[in-house]
Symmetry: D2
């Protein structure tokens, strides 16, 4: 049945409050302080801020699930990439709100918080299942977590919550699916052209130039010059590692990389040739993953400071050690560090190996077709 | 019973999800598009964004109620002013989040909205009772509203909603209570000192100086110079109006002012002498009212643009004319315009009448006492 | 000479302060208040904020020039579109900073401003040549401006400034170039397929459905139902106007549209089929134009409020009427209103005419080529 | 000479561009890439962003100097506190802009940066003298810095820059002056009332209650319960340290505190009794110091991530190790950590020792006087 034959949908009339289920939504704030005597003025803010977080987490979970559903296939269509990029951009906008909400919660002073803080034991932000879901879907693995963070699986969740999260851990996450998608990318060799051989040559030229620049930098003491020259040697080894699969896999086993060797190379290729039309969407996609990761890192770091300000060195709600815990997860729970590392391996456009014309054409739109049409329409 | 004799409160243990009533909160998103067939991807965002707005509106309503409760008394204690300022600052932080949320909703494109837009008839943002409560508590009067805005009382709300809002309109709002509080402020005359006589003299000196500056401004054409000199005459009349109660009341009747004459003068005094310690909290209070009003104005204006972008010239959800309606309320629904107008009547500090020493002392802390204490403690 | 044969560039060593010309930059703040006696504390802020604006304006001017340079050609390459989108995104980020800077300037209170305000006559923000350049490059025409705004060409600028801006007005602006680019877009007819005929049919179906929905909406009074049904007739006429070139041109002459008929249709096509890979970059481009325009509108509106707060009803620096002037330009100086209007003419995806397969293929990447490569590489 | 006798100041006419020295400002952007051949598109952005930073740094330096000038006296008047709070609030608003500017610079991609990166050697952000000035004025001491940070004094600055900063290090900074000001605060003992004795008793009662809550928390495993009970003992020792000057001084020598014992106690008192009118301004002052410190911490952390994204693991401009360096200073260069720690020592309002009535009166305004005036004016 085509759209043409569809009878118009005649929806039931619906009102604002009913649609948004405001009765249910706005009756879900019960103050513990009221239960034990006097309502603490700031407890409503405390509840509402956390509820706003959970609403937005629900949205993020939904968007991540939608992305994962598409990526969990053997091919991803270009027009799906457009949608995915829209959804990931949305997550970054939501993250801006999440960050801003910290300024709101900070209008509650430590003294005001004390009015009801000891009534909330052992409730704790650790117990936000949705936030754990987000972390797991992004690609945080249990073994990567700090011990206190890993422990929540054992001590702070219900049986069914633990089961739900464990199951999720066993399913494909965004990091793994992105890696698989990158590995499927063609283009790296093309007829006689072997991109990585050309790239290796270009790298050697660049490092040689860097060496010369350091050698002639008059602002450097002998000691610093030495230090920098040895840094170049380190760089050289790093480049070697990226070009030598065995070395890369070694570093990966040691935790320095998380993407597979081929996945990493494909990500690098996309970043190097992002100006090619066909690379535009893949490049936007990788950039958004990096930005989402970066935004969560910022949020964790802001959150840790806020908790320190609110609790000082006191134990947190629910008996956690608050600030220290959060500080540690800030760096530990990053997922797409490999994308941050990519810059290490970029070459200036002027030094980039030129793609063979046939490959370059394959990465663009076929303008011939378009132009023929243009001719047809008389434009 | 003193705190000392209180047995420690032994609260029941409470978990995160239970405390935040997450079951209730996170099950309150029902997609209309799903009811009629296929879920539209962006409908969840549409619901969650509006729910986040309603949560924050609840918090703003609560803070405004708390402020009104205190102001609805014959005296407001200084230590209450500190609290009130904290709550109003909180509203401004929440408003920053409200503004930011527009960027989130704008990640939904007009085309995506069309996937479920016609299912939401006649639901409309007009029907947000909480937003109307906020407007009424701030001080927006029914007769000030544009016709379409006034009509919602008749056509888009239920009987009981209408009754609730009508009752609220009959209760004291922040504008009226602030006016009453300002009218109670003493200090304007003090023994022989009549502040307003001194102020009138200072004004005349300043306008004379302005006239000279315009007369000698070589960049002005004769026509512009004339225009500016007549602007000075207009200023002069405005100052006269402020100093002459009868004229002021006339302008007020014509809608140019909303505060009473005495209230306006007191607000002006606070702004002029805000450096006096006793004026600090009142000044902060007035500034926050102005900022809250300004933030809502910004939000309305952003909201109007967003709706235009989303709906074009189409009729809005619920049959409203969307953009035009919102644009008109942006300017019309301002409350504390008088506080914006205050700047018109300020004088440079150098031109300000000096307060008599005794009055100035009364506006400060009694340092003698403090110093005596300091002596006692040997510091 | 290829990159391979280039000797490494051996740049002269350069230090931070020298590179940024900090001596020159940080000595460019001269307080007028100091010239006449005592430095006013807040004058430095006033100068620095305006200088920060001018620095950012320089960047925006540069990005707009770069975009215009590319568009001022008979073809725009896809890889250029990627760059252009990057530059326009940058402008939106700068605009966020411009908006944020208003919060900084508002930390100067009206009373503090009075300490040096009368020393700045007749200097005025009107005289920001760079801001005028931005307006003109975006596409604001002299005849569109309000009289006070138009007058600056005559009275507030130097001869050479006037000449510079007049020349710029005679050069192609972003609005005109975008229109020309849109007019060149093919695809609207394709063999037997006439897109606009299909579109007209789809519109008629949709309006019919809207009529039914309104007819059965029980929440509407007879009066409102009548009003809404007549709104549908207005819509119908609007659609007709878009599809009938003569009518469109009439409306355009009356100022309702600024894009040419063909340009408008092409923009509509891009919005309707933005999911097609080849439409992705054009769609992003149009969206960014809309957002830049929207951000300037927000900024103007915030700026107008700030000026009202700072000056009340007083005449502005330089003898302008400040708030009123700025309020009026907020709506008047919008450029890409047609892109906001596009939403009026969208159809739900379900109602969209399906593109012929051959056309759809032409709008995508040629996967065959890519897949052949994939085969070659053994992936 | 009184204001009355002053002749009106007749300032010279001044124009916008001249006032802001736009010729000088807008000619201070020289691209290195242009010097060596082709202008790199993004170099202008790189320069302008850094220049905007330096302009804002100049403003922050000025505000900090102004605050220090006032605090570097034996007494600080209440009306001066109002001003100081205004200036510090301004710094926080500027910091929001500084943070936002990172989003602008991130529109430059690593690949674009490579187009001119190697031309900027050895220039480096380390060399921003103004930023170092800010750090030193805030209270960062040379011995607190990480080695790489300390080294800049030796290797990356000119002789005269080094001398300038060394001199600044020898002058009073905000941390020291705040400490001195806190030490001067009276109120801690008052007649028979010894605040700290009462506080110690209240602490003991609170810890006892915490112990009971932990003991009965059913969600805790035996191990966690033990851990938390020992955390209480740690808390108890911390409280003891605060109340025992010798222990405090020991911890201070070990780097756990930076304020003097008496200064710390006064800061605690202000936080505990911030609702008293006389404590309002001091409380706001301390809160702003904390927020400025927190904002710089956020900015450093965002900056570090940005550098990592831009440079990967490559050495930074100027040969620094970029990301690692910045990450380390993020935590190390905090100044007002003691204010974050204060929350550790707060007591709930219900448990707070009640101040003697006479003391409480001394901390408020003398309303009697005000009321007498009110009576006089007949209000």
């Amino acid at each position: 049945m085509t759209a043409e034959n569809n009878p118009p949908r005649v929806p039931r009339p619906i009102q604002y409050g009913e649609y948004l289920q405001l009765d249910q939504l706005l009756s879900a704030q019960k103050l513990e302080s009221q239960r034990y005597g006097t309502a603490a003025h700031d407890e409503l803010l405390f509840i509402i801020t956390h509820q706003a977080y959970e609403l937005w987490f629900k949205q993020i979970v939904f968007e991540l699930e939608s992305v994962i559903d598409i990526f969990d296939n053997s091919t991803v269509e270009d027009r799906e990439m457009g949608q995915i990029i829209g959804w990931l951009s949305r997550i970054t906008e939501i993250q801006t709100v999440l960050l801003q909400q910290i300024d709101v919660i900070e209008t509650m002073t430590p003294l005001d918080f004390l009015d009801f803080r000891d009534l909330l034991v052992p409730a704790s932000g650790f117990q936000s299942i949705q936030f754990k879901q987000i972390e797991i879907m992004m690609g945080i693995r249990r073994e990567q977590r700090i011990p206190a963070d890993r422990d929540f699986f054992l001590s702070r969740l219900t049986e069914s919550e633990r089961a739900k999260l464990s199951l999720l851990e066993s399913r494909p996450n965004l990091l793994d699916l992105t890696d698989a998608w990158l590995r499927r990318m063609p283009f790296l060799t093309f007829g006689d052209f072997d991109f990585w051989r050309e790239y290796a040559r270009a790298v050697e030229r660049m490092l040689e130039s860097d060496r010369k620049i350091i050698a002639m930098n008059p602002a450097l003491t002998a000691e610093h010059r030495q230090w920098q020259l040895s840094a170049i040697e380190v760089s050289k080894e790093r480049f070697a590692a990226v070009l030598d699969r065995a070395k890369y896999d070694e570093l990966r086993a040691a935790g320095e990389f998380r993407l597979s060797h081929q996945g990493f190379l494909a990500a690098l290729f996309i970043n190097l040739y992002r100006d090619e039309p066909m690379m535009y969407l893949p490049y936007r996609y990788l950039t958004l993953l990096l930005e989402i990761d970066q935004n969560f890192t910022n949020w964790r770091s802001r959150h840790a400071l806020m908790v320190q300000r609110m609790l000082g060195r006191k134990i947190g709600t629910g008996g956690s050690s608050g600030h220290e815990y959060l500080s540690q997860t800030t760096e530990r729970n990053r997922v797409f560090l490999d994308l941050f590392a990519l810059s290490t391996f970029l070459l200036p456009r002027s030094a980039l190996p030129k793609l063979p014309q046939e490959l370059s054409r394959a990465l663009g739109f076929h303008f011939a077709g378009a132009q023929r049409m243009a001719a047809t329409t008389g434009n």
